[in-house]
């Protein structure tokens, strides 16, 4: 019985550690992998979201990004551990506003970048459209947006 308890403890520990490893996005590596794409713009910041690819339903994650008039921006989008074909759209208003306009969409998948120069300072809303899991399994992955700017 004691051996059973010991084995059970070991299994639980391993599952917990494995779960931790899968669930956490490592910012340093993901940003490092994508940072070259920012050139020749200067790094400003990044936004990273861990996403759950759910077999039952698609979902949307929205990220706000602040842009100032007079600057030029390059947004680089990347993913890690996601095989599903994600889309992203950029809007001038948040998803609660029905009058919002799309200013960019990824069309062929998320691994793209967007260069723009806002005519006025404002908030842009990046909507990541996460599809249902393609293999029926629940899994996690990461989406990252690197922001570069120049004057």
């Amino acid at each position: 019985m004691n051996r059973l308890l010991k084995n059970l403890s070991a299994v639980i520990l391993l599952v917990t550690l494995a779960n931790c490893t899968m669930a956490q996005c490592k910012a340093k590596q993901i940003v490092k992998d994508n940072k070259k794409a920012i050139d020749p713009y200067q790094y400003d910041s990044y936004a990273m979201n861990e996403v759950i690819i759910d077999p039952a339903k698609p979902q949307v994650i929205e990220v706000e990004f602040t842009a100032f008039a007079g600057q030029k921006y390059k947004l680089v989008f990347g993913t890690s551990s996601i095989s599903e074909d994600m889309k992203l759209n950029v809007y001038d208003k948040n998803q609660r506003n029905q009058k919002r306009k799309k200013v960019y969409d990824s069309e062929n998948g998320i691994e793209k970048h967007w260069v723009f120069e806002p005519s006025k300072s404002g908030t842009y809303y990046i909507d990541y459209e996460i599809p249902k899991s393609s293999d029926g399994q629940k899994k996690t992955g990461c989406v990252v947006m690197l922001i570069g700017y120049k004057e």
């Binding site: 004691n2 990273m48 979902q59 994650i61 706000e64 602040t66 006025k120 300072s121 004057e151």
Partner: protein
Amino acid sequence: MTHTIRIKAIGCLLVLAASTLIFSCGGNDTKDTAADKPSADSATQKTDDQDVSYNLPSPLQIASLFKKSGLKYIDGVTNKQKDPTKYTSNFSKSLNLGIYGADLAYCVLNKQSQEAMNYMKASTQLSGSLGMTSIFEEGSFVKRFENNINNEDSLRNVIAELQMATDTYLEDNEQQQISAIAFSGAWTEAMFIGSKVFEKSKEKSLNDKISEQMTILYKIISVLKLREAKDPGIPGLVKDLSGLLDVYNNFDSVKKSKTNAKDDDFGTVVGLSDQETTELIQKISQLRDKFVNS
């Protein structure tokens, strides 16, 4: 071990395992879904069953925005407290790390090499006391800063790389509250410097920039609120910054322009009256003094 105790032991083990799985791996102060994992300088808030993450600009970008609006150098306007050992709590260290960062950017952009070096050293020391020594060692940032002290473009690159290293370090080590507090300090310092230069120069473009920057304050407050549980200084900081935002939102000029900092159309420049500008600058100065003396 009796049969009953064995069953209880296994039961306890299973409950413990379930709890570990649920609450491990970065459980934070909100209902934790993977989509809620925020990055440095950003945070996620549930709104109408959707997740929204906020992303804040870097102190270097804010400094360069002010510079483009006519921000000149005034000797003595930056934080006179250059001994970082005076800051003892993690909260005051984080806050003044941001303030030093803004001062560093201001000095670099105005070609004040020696002062820039002083703030770089102070930032290094303060970061070390917050557990971030490895960032500086890995990137050789201080040496690179020294080697490029007379080249503004190179210094900006060094600062940008340091920002990236800091952002990812704090994210990976679940210390995002340091980032949020530091940004609050950096933003306040940038606003303080901008307002002091404006008092001397009366450049309208600077006043417009101050007004424009006020409209990201609600985002800073939103990001801080999501980290409240991670540092006891944050609730007070939220209160202080909310007080500043309330002052701004209650100006007649702001009310008349129907601009509210929470609206989607942020960034609209509001022409403040002389009295409103004076009152805003006073409030910013009070806050900044509180932060550098914390």
